[in-house]
Symmetry: C2
Subunit: 223 residues, 2 copies
Amino acid sequence: MKIGIIGSGVVAQTLGTKLIELGHDVALGTRDPAKLDEKKNMAGSLREWLGQVKNKGKVLSFKDTGAHGELLLNATHGQVSVEALQMAGAAQVGSKVLIDLANELDFSKGMPPGVLASHERCVAERIQSAFPNLRVVKSLNTVAATVMVNPKGLKDGDHTIFVAGNDGDAKAKVSNLLKSFGWVDILDLGPLSAARGPEMYVAMWVRLYGALQNGNINIKVQG
Amino acid sequence: MKIGIIGSGVVAQTLGTKLIELGHDVALGTRDPAKLDEKKNMAGSLREWLGQVKNKGKVLSFKDTGAHGELLLNATHGQVSVEALQMAGAAQVGSKVLIDLANELDFSKGMPPGVLASHERCVAERIQSAFPNLRVVKSLNTVAATVMVNPKGLKDGDHTIFVAGNDGDAKAKVSNLLKSFGWVDILDLGPLSAARGPEMYVAMWVRLYGALQNGNINIKVQG
């Protein structure tokens, strides 16, 4: 499948690498694809990434990435997601499925970061509202990038990942992608408004990270 | 132990019953203890509760409940907790331990309720700020009342409960009480500011409840 990842930080690079391993045709979208040597957020440069994936991936502009992907992933910071998707031509790409992985974190006051999500502030809902043509599915924002693509590496995969979105077919497609990563316990929380749950949960995640001093964590829903 | 529970709804009654079973001397605090026949929030009247516990519990005013308890529990709605604790004389009771179980839920727009917690809005921090003498420990707000007092009733107790607070001795006392309920996996999230984690997590809980149609749920932290 042709997949366009909007973003080029650690989440984008980690997902890109995994999706290439799985045989997909992956483009990473960045503001200025000529700046291949710029150090990225918590990750190496895009030139290093291209080396890691043996040049099987592409680095494109936001706009070309939006056009490339049959499936789109939003791996930008939540604060700039709508702007980045605007640049990716999200309003013009038709009814593509967008997996939204974003969180809004405020690192300005030190650690742990403030989690800006609230019952009135939800990245996924803001994206859906800005681009009603997209079929937005919230997922994967509740775990670190390493866990996203390798759930079996934590307690043999015995933990839960969430999907939320208004389109059942889109959620089924995303669930299939999650299964290809090794996810087994995939819980459908309902319509996109339910994305407030996983977005606000991140306030718990940052405290678990602080308490356990380890990002290789997740939760298993027991019920 | 003498325990004062501020509140008289379903959480207060369920905890009161359990604590009486465990041999504690329990008072439930209510605005007007003469109104024993008033139907309570999601629970029966306090006269019915007194019958259930074979009159081993007391129903007192907020003020007398605050004086009665060596240990205090806040089981009021988060929106009215500071006011109720004011009436309970919380500023005058010394350095008692207060377990804060409250959440701020907005049912005015239907189900699921809005969860008002945010990185700038946290009941436990508001209580600690209003009553700096109290040793506030946030706990138990992440599960339904039935799970609070009977964790073994769900997956044999294989799930996590959280504590957060600024006083280590207070957290140890609360952890012992939790153990007496059957809790095994008790996770210390750190100082009271970490209460934002479990308070914001409730936005996930209400979506889990919606998806699973069942309140007998919790999460197990895997890490």
